[in-house]
């Protein structure tokens, strides 16, 4: 762990967090914390509230109940990789311009890219294996190359907490391997990395900690234990239960035993 993790108060704590869409909970009574410098996967079946949780962590979705405590951090210290579908891939912008957006906090809305920032963008591109792609248009890139561009932009952001939403969906094996290497480097820098993933094998191989979510937390802790067959079975059953006419949630009616705090 690097210096960042040693700094106190870098944890992100969730206290009985519920995030609801139209009163139906997408994330239900979640408590726990992401330790500074930790590398956590958020796994679970479709509709388990994984992306919703990331958006709530980003402050993009309001928390219906409970609270998220970001300690000394603010959402400004967070870097966020949205799902690829949310980006306009046909927009006429060059790779260099897209990566330079990562320096937004430093340049602001009006500052131009300085020589230093242009150099930094070049280095970020070379770190993701895209040397010489600066002048290419993003529309001409493959899905894997485009994902590398987004990782280069995250490198430029230099964020303390990095949230990744399905970073390897529809991405080829080699790109996935390279990008996992970047994630490992982030971790050794002491950054906190939280990634939504649905490939359990990938999670087991590369992520020491896992939050298994099925709207409600199934288990949050060491990956091997969180992804036990019994837990996975339970997760699948819970994510499928959705009731149009569900009664209001009564306080204390929930089993919080599995949501533990490991900060």
């Amino acid at each position: 762990m690097g210096d960042r993790a040693a700094m106190s108060g870098g944890a992100i704590s969730l206290r009985d967090v519920t995030v609801a869409y139209d009163r139906h909970p997408a994330v239900h009574h979640l408590s726990g914390s992401f330790a500074p410098g930790s590398l956590t996967a958020i796994a679970g079946p479709n509709g388990a509230g994984k992306s919703t949780l990331l958006k709530a962590l980003m402050g993009e979705l309001p928390v219906s109940e409970g609270a998220i405590d970001r300690g000394r951090l603010s959402v400004r210290d967070f870097g966020y990789l949205p799902q690829a579908a949310e980006i306009e891939r046909r927009f006429p912008i060059t790779v260099a311009d897209a990566v330079t957006l990562g320096a937004w906090r430093r340049t602001g809305a009006f500052g131009g890219a300085t020589r230093a920032i242009a150099g930094e963008a070049r280095r970020a591109l070379s770190a993701v294996g895209l040397e010489g792609f600066e002048r290419r248009h993003i529309g001409s890139l493959s899905a894997g190359q485009f994902q590398r561009v987004l990782f280069a932009r995250l490198l430029m952001q230099d964020a303390e907490v990095i949230l990744l939403d399905e970073p390897f969906t529809a991405i080829d094996a080699r790109t996935t391997r390279d990008l996992l290497e970047i994630i490992r480097r982030w971790r050794s820098d002491g950054r906190t990395v939280i990634a939504v993933l649905h490939d359990f094998e990938q999670v087991r191989a590369h992520f020491p900690e896992t939050l298994l979510l099925a709207r409600e937390p199934i288990e949050w802790g060491a990956t091997a234990s969180a992804l036990s067959p019994a837990n996975l079975l339970r997760a699948r059953a819970m994510a499928e239960s959705w009731d149009e006419a569900a009664p209001p949630c009564r306080p204390g009616a929930h089993d919080h035993a599995h949501a533990h705090d490991h900060a």
Partner: protein, 290 residues
Amino acid sequence: MTLYSALVEPFADYGFMRRALVATLALSLGSGPIGVLLMLRRMSLVGDAMAHAVLPGAAIGFLIAGGLSLPMMGLGGLVAGLSVALLSGLVSRTTALNEDASFASFYLSSLALGVLIVSLRGSNVDLLHVLFGTILAIDAESLCLVGGIASLTLLAIAAVYRPLVAECFDPGFLRAVGGRGPLYHLLFMFLVVINLVAGFQALGTLMAVGMMTLPAVVARLWAQTLPGMFAVATGVGAVSGLVGLIASFHLGVASGPTIILTASVIYAASLLAGPPSPLRRLVRRPHLSA
């Protein structure tokens, strides 16, 4: 007919033709880039709806001024256009309706109200002027307004170019870095409205958006970069204005529709001859080595 009498004489001999030409050139400077950004935001038809939404405000300005007065109608149109843009934005954020659906409902109400107001007090000729424009009747005052709007538009785009690009390319990212996307979206809608107000004296509320949409789609066919698209769109607007005015002068037809039809002809030609054209597919060319 000599080339001089065909191309230059109309402008040399008639002040109204000169003013019309300057107005269309100024229009193309502002509306070209705005149209490109509208298209890239997939809002081309929202621009069209917005143009209709401007009408009741213009009609009220028409009533207050007691006749066709561009500054008065422009002010009214600005207020009406911005109100519809804000209301649509509000409705789409607070209900299940998409922005295009809420725009469609607001602009229809707005258009009906505008036509009703004009028909209450004005003649049919006035209604025709409001709907289809009177570019040949542009006076010096209106010219200043159109020129001022074009200048303001270019300066504003230059100032907020990066946030506009970021908001369009990846709105989620801009939100994540605290980039105040909605603010720039609103500023952009303001620019759309003032350019429609400028366009409507020349082309009327029904075709004001023509100087935005048609040059923009032509630009998309020819240019790869955003600045390139701005340049092509502006050029297409300017050429349409010039050619349209000359053609309408010699053929004795209405100038507004002629300008828009000229842009349509350029669009059709670009479809056939532009880079991704069907004609080019007929010619087999060897592929490149890298």
